[in-house]
């Protein structure tokens, strides 16, 4: 951010924006949980002895694919199954123990050719992992749009989707219904949401929008049938779609939660890999914030400040500062004192060189692990907070000192 330029409100609101989006995502998860429970109860209610299934040759089946044609009938795009993650090994294991409990759902797409509406994981495990020839299947004949909706609703209700896939598949479904490009669908969603906000979410406003915004009725009815509000769609789904590809990939292979992705987007790209590796990406957001803090600190190159300020000494025992440059700026002296106390400077000798304090802190930081080793361990988190606050305070102190030195030199 350039000095002397007023920061935009959009920029100032970033923290508020992320906090609200994260909180909405959490609520959505709870809603999905409730829906899932309802579906489970329904399934228990109707399941009793479904016998309307048949054996189908696995090689006659293909994954879902829906082609979008333009006015002249030319295929412009093909949508596949919106979901991108399939646990084939896990499914194969459960199939070989319990056998195939639920039939997959198919529709007929040509002479002896069938397309999967539901059950891609089962189909792939049976065909590719277990190498069996036949699969239990049920039929549900439907149009392309219904097919996409079927998969979408089915998966959404069974919570196989994450928020990103849900957003993407709804946009795809709208594209196929409205015959629009992705960009057009996205701006339509924004337009409807803006109108709703400025006109109030009242009945008349919605009718006005139906009449004046093309396609709005289809959008709003579809969203309501999926139990997702336009506000959630625009504010907690579309932002995920505009994430950098790297983060999206990690969300899709379940190594990064959508809320953590939103937090990580604002952190330097150089730390992304480390923030996602292992179980890191799925840690609660509080830990993710700390991890980002830690990684950013570890990465920062403090060596120039270390070298430039080697003369500063600290009476660690009494947390007093005796800087070589005289009394100095009171605020930064206070910063330094605080950091020494925070860092538990008892372990340091009297009149320690400030550089040694900083090095000691960095060492403490490196040995700290935020992943499962300190799961639910508030002491570990506290330590991290302490170390990172102190390092921040110390390096701020150094920066101030650096500036001071420079000013002095310039005056001379």
């Amino acid at each position: 951010m350039a000095k002397g330029v007023k920061r935009s409100f959009t920029n100032l609101a970033q923290g508020a924006n992320t906090a609200q989006a994260v909180s909405l995502l959490g609520e959505k998860d709870e809603e999905i949980e409730a829906l899932k429970e309802r579906i489970r109860q329904l399934e228990v209610g109707v399941a009793g002895g479904t016998t309307d299934w048949v054996w189908i040759d696995v090689n006659l089946i293909e994954p879902m694919a829906i082609s979008i044609t333009d006015g002249s009938g030319k295929v412009v795009e093909v949508f596949g199954q919106p979901r991108k993650f399939f646990d084939l090994e896990g499914m194969a294991q459960s199939l070989s123990i319990e056998g195939q409990q639920d039939p997959v759902v198919l529709r007929t797409v040509g002479e002896g050719r069938y397309q999967l509406l539901d059950g891609e994981t089962r189909w792939r495990s049976i065909k590719d992992v277990l190498g069996q020839a036949k699969i239990k299947a049920r039929f549900h004949e439907c149009t392309d749009e219904e097919a996409l909706a079927y998969t979408l609703v089915g998966d959404a209700l069974k919570n196989r989707f994450n928020a990103l896939e849900q957003g993407e598949s709804i946009v795809n479904l709208l594209r196929s219904k409205l015959k629009k490009t992705e960009q057009e669908v996205v701006s339509l969603l924004y337009r409807i949401q803006n109108q709703l906000v400025s006109k109030g979410n009242e009945k008349e406003a919605i009718e006005w929008i139906y009449e004046n915004v093309d396609g709005s009725e289809i959008v709003l009815r579809l969203l309501s049938s999926l139990n997702i509000t336009i506000a959630t769609m625009v504010n907690a789904r579309l932002p995920l779609m505009s994430l950098p590809d790297k983060l999206k990939e990690s969300i899709n292979n379940r190594t990064l939660t959508p809320s953590n992705a939103l937090i990580l987007r604002n952190a330097p790209e150089a730390i992304w890999a480390k923030a996602i590796e292992g179980q890191n990406g799925t840690m609660p957001k509080r830990k993710m914030k700390m991890l980002i803090n830690k990684l950013a600190l570890e990465m920062a190159d403090l060596s120039p400040t270390l070298a430039a300020n080697d003369g500063t000494t600290i009476d660690a025992k009494n947390a007093e500062v005796e800087s070589s440059s005289g009394s100095g700026d009171i605020a930064s002296e206070a910063n330094l004192q605080r950091s020494v106390t925070l860092a538990g400077a008892e372990s340091l000798e009297k009149n320690t060189n400030a550089t040694t304090v900083l090095k000691e802190l960095l060492k403490q930081l490196r040995t700290l692990r935020i992943d499962e080793t300190i799961e639910n361990d508030d002491k570990g988190l506290e330590l991290l907070e302490r170390v990172s606050t102190s390092i921040q305070a110390l390096s701020e102190y150094y920066q101030d000192k650096g500036k001071e030195g420079k000013n002095k030199r310039q005056k001379q």
């Binding site: 007023k6 920061r7 935009s8 409100f9 959009t10 100032l12 609101a13 923290g15 508020a16 924006n17 992320t18 906090a19 609200q20 989006a21 994260v22 909180s23 909405l24 959490g26 803006n194 906000v197 400025s198 506000a231 504010n235 907690a236």
Partner: protein
Amino acid sequence: MTQVRLAIMSCAGGTGKSTVATNLAYSLACLGQSVCLIDCDSNGTAALFTGLENPSSIGETLVAALKPGFKGPWPLKPVWRDYGIEKVDAVLGGHFLNEGSRQIQKEPRAAYLLADAIEDAPLPHDVVIFDCPGTIEQFHQMVLPACNQILIVLKPDTKDINAGFGLIQWIAEFSRDLRLKPKPKILGVQPNAFDKDAAMHRECLADGPGIEDSLPVVLRSLPEPIHVFPAIQQTRYLTNAGAVGLPLRLYRSDRTTWKIAGLFEALAKAVLEADHG
């Protein structure tokens, strides 16, 4: 109807929270509502602005209600009865809150004490207004689980607005940390002490086609969009009215105060029409 419990918050002192709280209480009373104004600030402005004597003991303040197991009665003080206002009461704050704060710190349910008090000893009023302090401290935190609506009061300048965004972030994060269900809704942002001659004020509040970076535009684009109410302008009548313990309309009722009184009345209606979960 569910009781409206409105918290008036800001992230800075002197933005006009107590001014809005007292004038709003008056406007609500004029609409036939009974109102309880709870002063959660240790500066005790609410007593001043309602013309009440300062409390003489801790038992006359909000602290009395924050004892675990509190079953009532609330230390209610009648407000503006001499002026024909029948249904406004106040629970006082002031410096006793500092002492209370030290006791409360040790309570395991510290953040929920106010919500507990309201649940266990319900106030009979239609509307409860919490006049919050200007920083996020213990009493401020306690209001979040106790309220169902929040009004943010700020001056339309960059500093206040920046602090306001910080407050909005805190509300989202703290509501989640405390697992509030339902969480309180932000009724809107009330700009106050607007100076129409200040370019900065006008820029902050600009809205309409072509405007991309102003308070109303940015608040509207948040995941949970926030409404901005029409600004209350800077006027010495409000300062003077507060100083003698009266709402603007009782202090002076003529054409000069008509416009601002109208804003408070519209705000009061918005409070009553909002959905309180």
